[in-house]
Symmetry: C2
Subunit: 559 residues, 2 copies
C-alpha cells in the first residue's frame, strides 16, 4: 500500500480537458458557456431556457446511512457512480453542492469526492469557485442594510424593531459575530438593537437560489422573504422595502449552474449549497433540471443521512420542482455500520461480524424509509481496505432479506472501473420503470400532522412534543396561507432520534420541538429540534495556520 | 441634441471583441488569460513573471483639479486618452481602479468613464466583476475571525483587547455596522468587546494588494499588518497569529490584473480600488507595471484632485514601485473652474468669464504642484455642450501664462476622434524626455516634517497643528523603524485646505491633525485631518429601490 496517493496528489495529477470541450460533449455551444478560467464555466440562462420541453433523463439520488466519524463517502460514491454510468455507455451528469469557504479555515477542507472519484478543480471549489456564495452573501446583506436603513429614515413600514428576524451573513467561521449589538455610536448610526451573523450557507437566500426555477421565480421568492413583523404582528416582506429587484440583480450570475469535470473528464454540475439542517441540503433545482435535459442519467446527492437528506430531497426539492426520481443509492461502509453496531473508532480495523449485524438495523431502516416514497433502492458498499470478505458478505445477506441488493464498489481506489457493477444495476433499476414516487405527505395535511408523519414514519418516534406556543404559531401560519408548505426538519444527523448518541435504529423516542421558523421565500417551515449552530467557530489550532502557497504555486494545507 | 444617448445605452450598443482577442493583440497567449465570461479575463502570474527585464513604455498620469459637483470627467478622460493614443498609432493600455459594489445601491453607480469614452462591460464592473473585492473581504475577515479566535482560546500573544485595531469589512453601505459590540451571548461566543465594520475599499488588505509587486510580496505585507497591541504596547502582527499564508491563498487570483476593453476595443486593466483618503487611491502596482511591459503608453489615473491623488501617486505608488511617470494630464472643465470661482451649480450654464478667471487659480496651483515632482504637465479641457468659445480660450490663455498648454477634448461626444490633439501632444511631451521625476520628500525625512512638507508645498498651508500625543506617536513609530514610510494624507478632496467649502487656491490656512494611523502592511502612515467616513450609509431613497432586471435581462437603475 506504499503507493496510495492523497486526494490532493490525485487531483493535481488530473488531466483536465478544457471546460468548453466538456460542455460541447453535452451539446452546449461555446457562446452559452461563460468560462471562469479554463476549467470552470457557467451555463447561460438563455441556453437553459431553450431546453424547455425536451425529454428528461433518469434521476438517481445518492443518500446514506446516518453519518459516523468513520466516514461513508456519499459524495465519492456520487462521483464514482456518475463516472461508472459514463463508463458503461450511458451519458451521465453529476449534480452536487458547492463547498462553503469559511469552514475550510477551521478544519481541513471538504474536497469534492475522494481517491479516484473526485471533481476538479478541487482548490477552486473549496475557495471562491465562481463567486456564487459571495453573491448570496451580498444579496443577503443588502437586504439587511436596507432594513436598518428603512428604520433609520423613519420606519414607514412600522417594523417592530424587537421582531426583526433578518440577520446578516458571512462565509466565515466567526463566533464573535453570532450575537452582536449594532447601530451603536450615536444618532448617525441608527437605533441600537440586538442582531447577529449566520454563515452564508444558512442564509434563506441560499435556500431560495437552490429552489428557484429561474430568475423570475428567484425574484418572486426574494420578495416573499419575511424580514420581521409590525406591532400588529403582520409580516414585513423584502418587497415591502423594495429590496427584491436589486437582490435578484446581485444573483443573476449566481443562479446559472457551474460546470466542472470529474477526474475521468465527465461533466459535473456543482451549484448551490444550503445547510442540510435548517435548509434542505440539496444542490440547485436549476442545475438538476438542466442536467436532466442534457443527459440520460443525473446522479445527485442530498445532505446527511437518508432520514434528513433523502426525506427533504423527496418532500421539498422533488415535490416543489416536480422531479421524479427513478432510483436511490444508499451508501454504507463496513466501518460505519460497525460504529452503528457499537464499535469504537479505534477498533474499526478489526473484523466484528456481530457488531456489523447489529449495526445493519440502521441501514435497514433507511432502505425501508426510501421505499416509502415509492423509489427503488440499492445499497452501495463503499469499500475500505480494512473490510473483510465476511463482513461484506454479511451486509449483502442482510440487504437481501429486505428484498434489495447491496453491491461492493471500489471507485475510491479504482475510479469508474471499480463501480461498473453498481452502475449497471442502477441503470437496470431506473430503466425498469419501477419508481412510483410520491412524497410522504400531501400538501393539504396540517403542519403539525406533517411533522408527526415525518417523526413517526421516518424516525420511528412515538410522539412529537411541542408547546402550545409552537402549535399556535403553526396554526397562525396556516391561517395566513402557509399551511401548504412542506416541513424542513432540523435534527441531529447522527441518529434517527434527536439524541446524537443514539445510533442504530431506535424506536419509541420523543421528538421535542424547540422552535419553528417560516422561510416564506424558500417555501418551507423549519422545525428545530435541539441546538442548531448557524455560525460555526474555529478550533484552537485552525487549519488556516498551515495553509499557504508553496514554491510551485500550489496550495498546501487546505485538504 | 435629441440624439444624445445615455452612458448605459452607449455601453449596451458596444461591439465588444472576445477578450482573448484583446489579449492576443497585447501578446498574451490564450493559456495565460483566465477568462471570466467572454469579456473579462485575468492575466496569469506566470505570464507577468515572464515579462521581467523587458523595456517599459511611457507612463502617463491623469489627474484633476479639486472635484466639484459639476464633474470633471477624470476617468472619462483617462479612457478617452487611451483610445486617442491608440488612434494615432501608439500602443496604449488604460489602467484604472475597480468599482466598489456597496455604494452602487445607495446612489447611481459610477460607470467606468462616460459617453463615448467608456470601459465595458459596465454592468459587471459595477457588480461582482471578477470577485477581487469579495476575495479581499474574505481575507480581511479571516484575519478578524482568527484574532477573536486567538483570544477565545487563551490569548497566547497577550493581546490587549482594548487595543485591537483590526476591524471587519463588508462591501456594502451599512451604517448599522459602523460600531458594534460583538462576542455577546455567553461563554461559547468569546469575550464581548467594541468593534465595527468598514467598507471593503477601506481595508488595509486592499491597499496592500494594490502596492504589492507579486504574490510573495503580498504575503510578506499581509504578515506585517498590525492587528493590535499587547499590554506592553508592542505591536501584534498578522503573522503572530499565523494568518498570512491563508490570507495570501484567498488572494491568489485577486492579485492577477483584470483585462477588459474600451468601447473602441482598446485594452484596459481594471484592478484594485483603495480609498483615496485613508489609502493611496490608485489601481494596483502589478497592473501598472505589467501594462508598462506590454504597451508604448500606459494611461492611469489617481483618486480625487491632484493635491491628494497625484501627490499620493507620486509619493507612495511611484516611489515604492520605482515608477517614473513621463507626463501628467490635468483634467478641468469650464463648469468646474467656474464653481471654483464661486458660481453656484444652477448658474453653470451661463457664460461667466470673471468667475472662470477667478477659478483658474485652482487649476494653476495644481499645474505648479505637479511640476514640483519634475513631471511635465498638460491641461485637458473636458468639453461640455454649454461651454462657450470665450470660456475655453480664457482657460487656454491662463494656462499659457504658466508655461503649459491646455487642449480642448471632445472624447465624451466623439470618442478617440475628439481627443487626437491631446493624444499627440501628450506623446510629444512624453517622448521629449522632459520628465525628471522625483518624490516631494526623501525617505529619511522625519515623519512630521514630511507632513509639513506636503501641507506647505502642496496645500500652501502655513502650519500643521498636532497635539503632543500625535507627535509622540510619530516619534515612537520612528523609533520602531517605520520612519522611512511615506505619508498618506486623509483630507477633504474639495479644497486644498481642510475646509471643504474653501474652493479656489487658499493660502495661509492651518492643517489640524486629528489622528495618525500606521498601515504597516501597506507601508504608509495615514494622517487624518477632519472626519473621514470609512463606512458609508444609504440615503433615504436608495437607488436599489429602482434596480431590477428588465424583460430583456438588462439591468435597469444601476447607472
Amino acid at each position: 500500500m506504499a503507493e496510495v496517493k492523497s486526494d490532493i496528489e490525485i487531483a493535481r495529477a488530473a488531466k483536465k480537458k478544457p471546460i468548453l470541450e466538456i460542455g460541447a460533449a453535452l451539446g452546449i455551444p461555446p457562446e452559452d458557456l461563460l468560462p471562469y478560467g479554463h476549467d470552470k464555466a457557467k451555463i447561460s440562462a438563455d441556453f437553459i431556457a431553450r431546453q424547455r420541453g425536451k425529454k428528461n433523463g433518469h434521476l438517481i439520488l445518492v443518500t446514506a446511512i446516518n453519518p459516523t466519524p468513520a466516514g461513508e463517502g456519499k459524495t465519492t460514491t456520487t462521483v464514482g457512480l456518475g463516472d461508472g454510468l459514463n463508463r458503461i455507455g450511458k451519458k451521465a451528469i453529476i449534480c452536487i453542492r458547492e463547498a462553503s469557504l469559511g469552514p475550510c479555515f477551521g478544519v481541513k477542507g471538504g474536497a469534492a469526492g475522494g481517491g479516484y472519484a473526485q471533481v476538479v478543480p478541487m482548490e477552486d471549489m473549496n475557495l471562491h469557485f465562481t463567486g456564487d456564495f459571495h453573491a448570496i452573501t451580498s444579496a443577503h446583506n443588502l437586504l439587511a442594510a436596507l432594513l436598518d436603513n428603512h428604520i433609520y429614515w423613519g420606519n414607514e413600514q412600522n417594523i417592530d424593531v424587537r421582531r426583526i428576524s433578518w440577520r446578516r451573513v458571512m462565509d466565515m467561521n466567526d463566533r464573535a459575530l453570532r450575537n452582536i449589538v449594532g447601530s451603536l455610536g450615536g444618532i448617525a448610526n441608527g437605533y441600537p438593537r440586538e442582531t447577529g451573523f449566520d454563515i452564508t450557507v444558512a442564509s434563506e437566500v441560499m435556500a431560495i437560489l437552490c429552489l428557484s426555477a429561474d430568475l423570475r421565480d428567484l425574484e418572486q421568492r426574494l420578495g416573499n422573504i419575511i424580514i420581521g413583523y409590525r406591532r400588529d404582528k403582520s409580516p414585513v416582506f423584502a418587497r415591502d422595502i423594495k429590496a427584491d429587484g436589486a437582490m435578484a440583480v446581485l444573483l443573476k450570475d449566481a443562479i446559472q449552474p457551474n460546470l466542472v469535470q470529474t477526474l475521468e473528464n465527465n461533466p459535473a454540475f456543482v451549484h448551490g449549497g444550503p445547510f442540510a439542517n435548517i435548509a434542505h441540503g440539496c444542490n440547485s433545482v436549476i442545475a438538476t433540471t438542466t442536467a436532466l435535459k442534457l443527459a440520460d442519467y443525473v446522479v445527485t446527492e442530498a445532505g446527511f443521512g437518508a432520514d434528513l437528506g433523502a426525506e427533504k430531497f423527496f418532500d421539498i426539492k422533488c415535490r416543489k420542482a416536480g422531479l421524479k426520481p427513478d432510483a436511490a443509492v444508499l451508501v454504507a461502509t463496513v466501518r460505519a455500520i460497525k460504529m452503528n453496531g457499537g464499535v469504537k473508532k479505534d477498533d474499526l480495523g478489526k473484523e466484528n461480524l456481530e457488531a456489523l449485524r447489529k449495526g445493519c438495523a440502521n441501514l435497514g431502516r433507511h432502505v425501508q424509509n426510501v421505499k416509502k416514497f415509492g423509489v427503488p433502492v440499492i445499497v452501495a458498499i463503499n469499500h475500505f481496505t480494512s473490510d473483510t470478505e465476511a463482513e461484506v458478505q454479511a451486509i449483502k445477506d442482510y440487504v437481501a432479506t429486505l428484498g434489495a441488493e447491496a453491491v461492493l464498489c471500489r471507485h475510491w481506489a479504482e475510479g469508474s472501473a471499480g463501480i461498473e457493477e453498481l452502475a449497471m444495476k442502477v441503470a437496470a433499476l431506473a430503466e425498469g420503470g419501477h419508481s412510483q414516487f410520491s412524497p410522504l405527505y400531501p400538501d393539504d395535511m396540517s403542519l403539525f400532522h406533517k411533522i408527526e408523519t415525518i417523526a413517526k414514519d421516518i424516525y420511528h418516534a412515538s410522539e412529537v412534543i411541542a408547546d402550545k406556543s409552537v402549535r399556535d404559531q403553526l396554526r397562525s401560519w396556516e391561517d395566513q396561507g402557509y399551511g401548504h408548505l412542506p416541513i424542513c426538519m432540523a435534527k441531529t444527523q447522527y441518529s434517527f432520534s434527536t439524541d446524537p448518541n443514539l445510533r442504530g435504529a431506535p424506536t419509541g423516542h420523543a421528538v421535542p420541538i424547540r422552535e419553528v421558523r417560516l422561510a416564506a421565500g424558500a417555501g418551507f417551515i423549519v422545525v428545530i429540534t435541539g441546538e442548531i449552530m448557524t455560525m460555526p467557530g474555529l478550533p484552537k489550532v485552525p487549519s488556516s495556520e498551515k495553509i499557504f502557497l508553496n514554491d510551485q504555486g500550489y496550495i498546501e494545507g487546505l485538504f
